[in-house]
Amino acid sequence: EPALIFDLGGKFDKSFNEAAHNGASRWAEQTGKTYREIELQSEAQREQALRRFAEAGLNPIITMGFAMADPLAAVAGDYPDTKFVAVDVNWLDAPNVRQIGFAEHEGSYLVGMMAAMASKTGTVGFIGGMDIPLIRHFGCGYAQGAKAVNPDINIVANMTGTTPSAWNDPVKGSELTKAQISQGADVIYAAAGGTGVGVLQTAADEGILSIGVDSNQNHLHPGKVLTSMLKRVDVAVYDAMKAGEDLQTGVFAMGLAEEGVGVAMDEYNAELVTEEMSSAVADARSDIINGNVTVVSYYENDSCPALQF
């Protein structure tokens, strides 16, 4: 029986954790099997949950978020027969851990391009949640994509805050959206968990476009959400559960090539995406895959060429 450990945001964060939840549910539905899950509520529980699940014989144990890296490093060695999956981690030295790193910057690059092409004002916005490197990583890719389309584009970037409530403050998200609109932004990319709900809502209310994140959020406001930057956590989780105990370990990159990240195209945004846009995105995608274009990763670079934080 597999186990799934959600990060502090909780399984219904409408983005990252929820995607994992979706993948797991899909697996459970299709196979009729069950899995265990826990929503962490404190730092100390990270290691606790890992050990408890491992001792209960659950296998594989899937963890969400970079913050699990440290506890995993401490625990994995104690349970060599258990396989672990670490989503958003790719730097551990542990033989029984499958580490999955997503190339969020590449996906963000594509939505950045779309934003720049959809923008009439020449200003696009980015709203992050808590100011942590991961979110800068999103923003950085986005900015590069936008600049690739229009080097003179103006990018307004804001973070919601510095406390965990930054992930759950749609009201502030909404105000930031209004602020960016008044600075001329007419497409806004939200990478802010529950706060993003407020961003998408206000963008729809104010008649501008927004871009969702992690899960496909296009349906939230049909015709108002330009696209969503998909991070196929659901696929990663689904695959891990499907592989079960035979899971391959090691470091896996989930970039554009692996379809680990991408842009969401469906009936809700079909009207918004022009021919020109989809072909540009398709070209850029293949360019990135075959190495003609490199998107700088904030993680690796520790700073961003296209945007100042």
Binding site: F12, D131, A157, E175, L176, A179, G194, G198, F309
Partner: protein, 336 residues
Amino acid sequence: MDIFVTLIQVLDSTIRLATPLLLACLAGLYSERAGIFDIGLEGKMLMAAFFSAAVAAVTGSVWLGLLAGIASSLVLSGLHGLASITFRGNQLISGVAINFLASGLTVLIAQSWFKQGGRTPSLFGGGRFESAEFPYAIGPEDAELTGQPVSELMSDANSIHMVYSELLSGHSILVYVAFLMVPLTWWVLFRTRFGLRLRAVGENPAAVDTAGVSVVGLRFAAVAICGVLCGIAGAYLATALQAGFVKEMTAGRGFIALAALIFAKWRPWHAMWACLLFGLLQAIALRFQNIDLGGVVIPVQAMDALPYILTVVILAGFVGKAVPPRAGGEPYVKER
């Protein structure tokens, strides 16, 4: 003109951000003026935010939602009254408990009700408070007619028209309610019998008691008004500013309102200015992140902390000692 436009927009944002603070602050004002300290404003707002959004989502009527929000906040007020008036318990503990209760119950109920992870479904149409457009104000309708975005129309208009359209018009009805509550509260407190008694019971309940007026009745009335106002504040967050409930969506606003109340030294007009100031500081911090001062970039964290730093500075520099209502926080005990 550009600075002027920005200024108007910052002020517009200020009003929106100040409204929930103001409602909660006035709520606290009634309660604390009557001698019942209330650090449970946050919890009451949160509860009301959830129930207003939940009922609005289920019935499709925002007005029913508002009523439900007020009712739920009133229930918590009743609990606070029971603990601190009837059973003369510690008002701080009761407030802390109410905050925990609201934070847990909202998600618990939301989850077993909607199964969307402690969230309500998104509200639309009649489930939300629409913004009230004043006559001749530039609004979305004009935008549709002319085909130009509102912001463009706005910057083309003359300044008075702009102030009128952006600052005065276009808010949810609850915003106007909140700001009307200020003179109303002042009038009630200082011009009516009820207000006289309310203030007296917060200063010296024994004086009210020996004057033949029920201390318990007055305090419950005050706590109930507090509940109603917190209810409106919560409903505003979930059904006017936002289109639905998200867990912990009050995000500490109850505590900021409490700070504003102390800041205002428990006076209605001052409360309004204090809340506007807090709103303004937040609006500024939101709008001007990463300020570049000739090469030195102020980190975003500094801007994020700015409203709080400025609050401390203003408090230390200009406000001086705030003396709370004398009987505040103490249960009225006749027989020791």
